[in-house]
Subunit: 349 residues, 4 copies
């Protein structure tokens, strides 16, 4: 067993980490950190538990400590569910102290020597770890996963990018309120309404996607050469981001080949049979009205992306359209970091 | 005053017609039709009233008649809120009987001699009325308005089409449940969920939009020569369709000129000062998180389209992006037919 | 293993039966019935599956048959998820044909020789089975469970009734939309709204509760002698009924004793360790804002009732107040019938 | 015209005050206060406007000042939409400075010399103003209105209390999220859920109701002698509180007489024809499924309470049951204070 901790364990994503680590066969949850206000309390007393499962036994009685590497002992990997501004300061301290930081925070994602990784998409970017350690003189290192809406999109683009010629991707999202944190979206803002804006989200989708599909060439990631244009919107859904994708290719394509490409897609986590890896990273639904967030977000324990309505545009015969749903706080956050850690544990540690 | 009637007066759109005609200065509501089951009843006894205003006095005591031209006396214009399959049979009967049919139904929209009109966009298509009467030997005639989601899109495309070079339009909708009728979307389908499919909607948006912006050349409408690709989705909003629009132009453009184009847009209804015409057909919101359906659907009594987040894509410098909101059962249905009738009343009758 | 079938297997409650029987250790699902329209199809082709789990393997390939005892072979127990009007005709036919009918339908509940049973509350009422068989000359028999909102209430009243002197119970419900079936509550009726009426529900709660807590005296159930007054309302919740309960006792009481009474409550299913029996039929939450339907409906796999805010009225010192949540389609419907069947299997068959 | 100001003008209730005062014939809005952060800004720049109407012209350009009587000139009446803790400090300062404070805040409601008034219910309690001025040596004075859920209940109890013998009132509420302020209820807490607790609300309903219906005897209000027991719950409704009411009387009663009592109810505002007074304070709906918050909250511009399902209990023949809906931020807050001010303006100033 590898000892792991969670930085920022009381928030929404922190709770998902705990849920997913509750009975993990290889990762032993031993440490939980939170703000100074919570330090010293038992986790069950420090947290307002939002999930509809019980607090896993393993976490209930852990005494929460301050988010400070000096407070964290005998831990190999820490998962970061910290806000970006705190992550920027604290994550390097944990790496310097020798720990692996598997971070869901945005702070370090676009640093040139920090791998931004989805294990099914670009596991080879983990090679940057060596450079990072060397550059920064750290014993540990930081690995990040992308933004929630990016992960689901990039997982579906990976097999297409390998097999077809993508030119432009337009994506319009309908994102769940949990993505903004428990208090992020007031009910007054979303009942009988939607909010067609999420700060920073479009830029993340546009940049991170190309970085993920980019080539690691020595010490540098060269972004993929097509373009992504996003429009991001919040709707009255609790969990599960839905995305309407339009892809302009440079050649005509066959819809059945697209489906085959999705269907056969397997990444390194599937080959290595990692514990949290979904058997199928992409699930295809053939019903005319799927995927739907409430019905599909939990596919493969929330770790698969479900795709449907895969169709060629009626007029533009080089344009592919489909809808995807991915669980934003599992596959798009806590589960993504855990899968990164499982991969690191398998091939680096 | 012109006497008017409503065909299919008890449904959602029928009720909106009544609400809007309740105190109309030029159109006098004298007739309401419904299915045989309701015929003979006073309207207030025949209807399950869904709107949160009271039933207008003018309608309350009208005795409902069967949807049959023989039952409708002394009426100049009938508004059709009929289902498409019934409309296809009944609307021609009313036109043959000498009445003007201002229809919200889809049945006759794409008939080559039936005008499909938004008064601000293509009033000149009303010239087809002459051909229609001649072709069919009718004393009356049929004029249609487009589908709800098409209207809002086409109103914003009109000024752009006149001033910029549009190549491709990608549009992703987040549509209100009222668009499916009162019983159309079960709560089990939409609470904590969305449905990424609306039957026939994408085809309507793709075809009707180009027809509306097409040229009437003698007896034929030649569709506009750019392309529209739609992805249509239902969300937990009562009224007001939201659309995320991506437009590829063939040249670079200036965002301020786009805004100016929206801002200065005026159509024939504004010039003629028609009763239901919004002062500004397009309202621009500069807040980063607007337009929102609950906040903006009722702008100009539900007859304006509100546009926001007008921006150039970060990478594709010929791609314009914006969000629009339009009231689907007012501007997108009953109000659209009434504005058509007001225009006909002014320039044809 | 006992072979079981489901009558009306394609609806909401039918699907819950299938979900719960998917891996049942003692009950082997072999037969599914539905309307003639579905007969002859494989279940997965006949059903529009609404639950967010997959269709259990055991049901997927069963060929649906008409709801007719002649079509049902080698089955010991049938679960009825039929509408009341059909149940009234069909359930006796199945009993006559020798099968045990464990029914969730309202049709036969108040027949004097048909047991209306919650296993934790009044298992002794099953003695009526003998009378029923004799009266009607059937080889099989019918056992019913109460209405969804009644079950949750009656489970909490049972320990109180045994220990305290109840005079009047006022109950105000906030019920989930699933209780009305998938198409029962249109989204237009419930988004930004509630509906303060559910046909027949108040009468069911008022009558069934007293019947359940009544004494079986020879061949007759004498209803319990206190009173129940209900006000029933539908709110925008998918699953899980919430009830605000006010109880006037004839003597002062101690809140801690009430909690103790709830906490220690065990019924026959717990003693017999029936498969679907919750370890604790009543769960107490001490947080000031619990129970909540989304958070508590799935407690003990949806088979427990969760109670909170147990308090004495500020002024009326003989009035107890509390809030309860129960899963309406599990504990309140399919799970209730299954627990009845497990009890019958243990003590009668 | 009387000059008026609003204390705490940028919040939800502050905005309702502005909406209602936008075109008031007797009250001229001249002053808006907010926190120091907003002071010095034009109102339209200081506020995040949440209502779906436009900011009234009269308010748009008012320069916001700090909530300090020294900053407020030439104002006769100030409306207080302040939080209770600030109100407790600031409202006396404004009264001391000679202004009439019509407060929606809870801080001063239960002070023995501060009138707690609903103009239709207990206008005679305004006589306490003399005592208050004398006690405290103020030129101005404070008048309060009750909590939102109390107002709607008390308005329906008033005619019953005058005509029938009430013993106990049990009330179970289903309250709108706007009652908690714009950010008060996170969407994560209420989508597919409800919250069966609102801090302090039950106590307010229980105490304020009896105080309102109590007799002013010289200098003291003696509370009415029946009892009120409340259970308060938050549901996914934007505006409009719904309450299920059970009333035990000490004698049998006739439902038609109850309806007559509601129907004929008129208070002083109706007799004086005050501008904001609803023509009918209580509206009766006879449909089996009304009142509903979205359909009925705006009755009489949000100033009436709508009552339905008026019925005698099936068993307890001295128990009356009904459902009511009232608009919580209009009749239950801003509109209540304004009606108080109109009454004061008519009979005191």
């Amino acid at each position: 067993m590898v000892n792991v901790g969670i930085l920022g364990a009381t928030g929404m994503v922190g709770q998902r980490f705990i849920e997913l680590l509750g009975d993990h066969p290889d990762l032993e949850l031993t440490t939980l950190t939170a703000s100074k206000r919570s330090a010293g309390k038992k986790y069950e007393d420090a947290v307002t538990w939002y999930l509809d499962c019980k607090i896993p036994e393993i976490a209930r009685n852990i005494t929460v400590v301050d988010t400070d590497p000096n407070e964290v002992k005998d831990v190999d990997i820490v998962f970061s569910a910290l806000p970006a501004d705190i992550a920027r300061i604290v994550e390097p301290q944990f790496a310097e102290a020798g720990m692996v930081v598997a971070s869901n925070a945005a702070a370090m994602r676009m640093e040139p020597d920090v791998p931004l990784v989805i294990p099914e998409v670009n596991p080879e970017h983990l090679e940057l770890v060596e450079l990072q350690r060397k550059n920064r003189g750290w014993d540990g290192f930081i690995v990040t996963n992308p933004n929630c809406s990016t992960i689901a999109l990039a997982m579906t683009l990976k097999p297409l990018y390998d097999q077809f010629k993508l030119e432009k991707v337009y994506v319009s999202t309908m994102q769940a309120v949990s993505g903004a944190g428990y208090n992020g979206v007031p009910s007054m803002a979303i009942v009988d309404n939607l909010v067609p804006f999420i700060g920073g989200e479009e830029e993340k989708m546009e940049n991170e996607t190309l970085h993920l599909l980019g080539d690691l060439d020595g010490n540098t990631v060269t972004p993929a050469s097509f373009g992504v244009s996003a429009s991001c919107h919040r709707v009255a859904v609790l969990d599960g981001h839905t995305e309407a994708v339009f892809i302009e290719m440079s050649e005509e394509f066959n819809v059945d080949e697209v489906k085959k490409s999705f269907h056969e897609f397997q990444g390194l986590p599937q080959k290595l049979d990692l514990y949290s890896a979904p058997a199928a990273p992409i699930i295809i639904r053939e019903e005319e009205n799927r995927p739907q967030p409430r019905m599909d977000r939990n596919a493969e324990h929330g770790m698969a992306v479900t795709v449907g309505r895969i169709r060629k545009d009626n007029v533009f015969n080089k344009t592919l359209k489909y809808i995807l749903v991915g669980h934003n706080t599992i596959r798009g956050a806590a589960g993504a970091s855990i899968l990164n850690a499982e991969l690191i544990n398998e091939i680096i540690l």
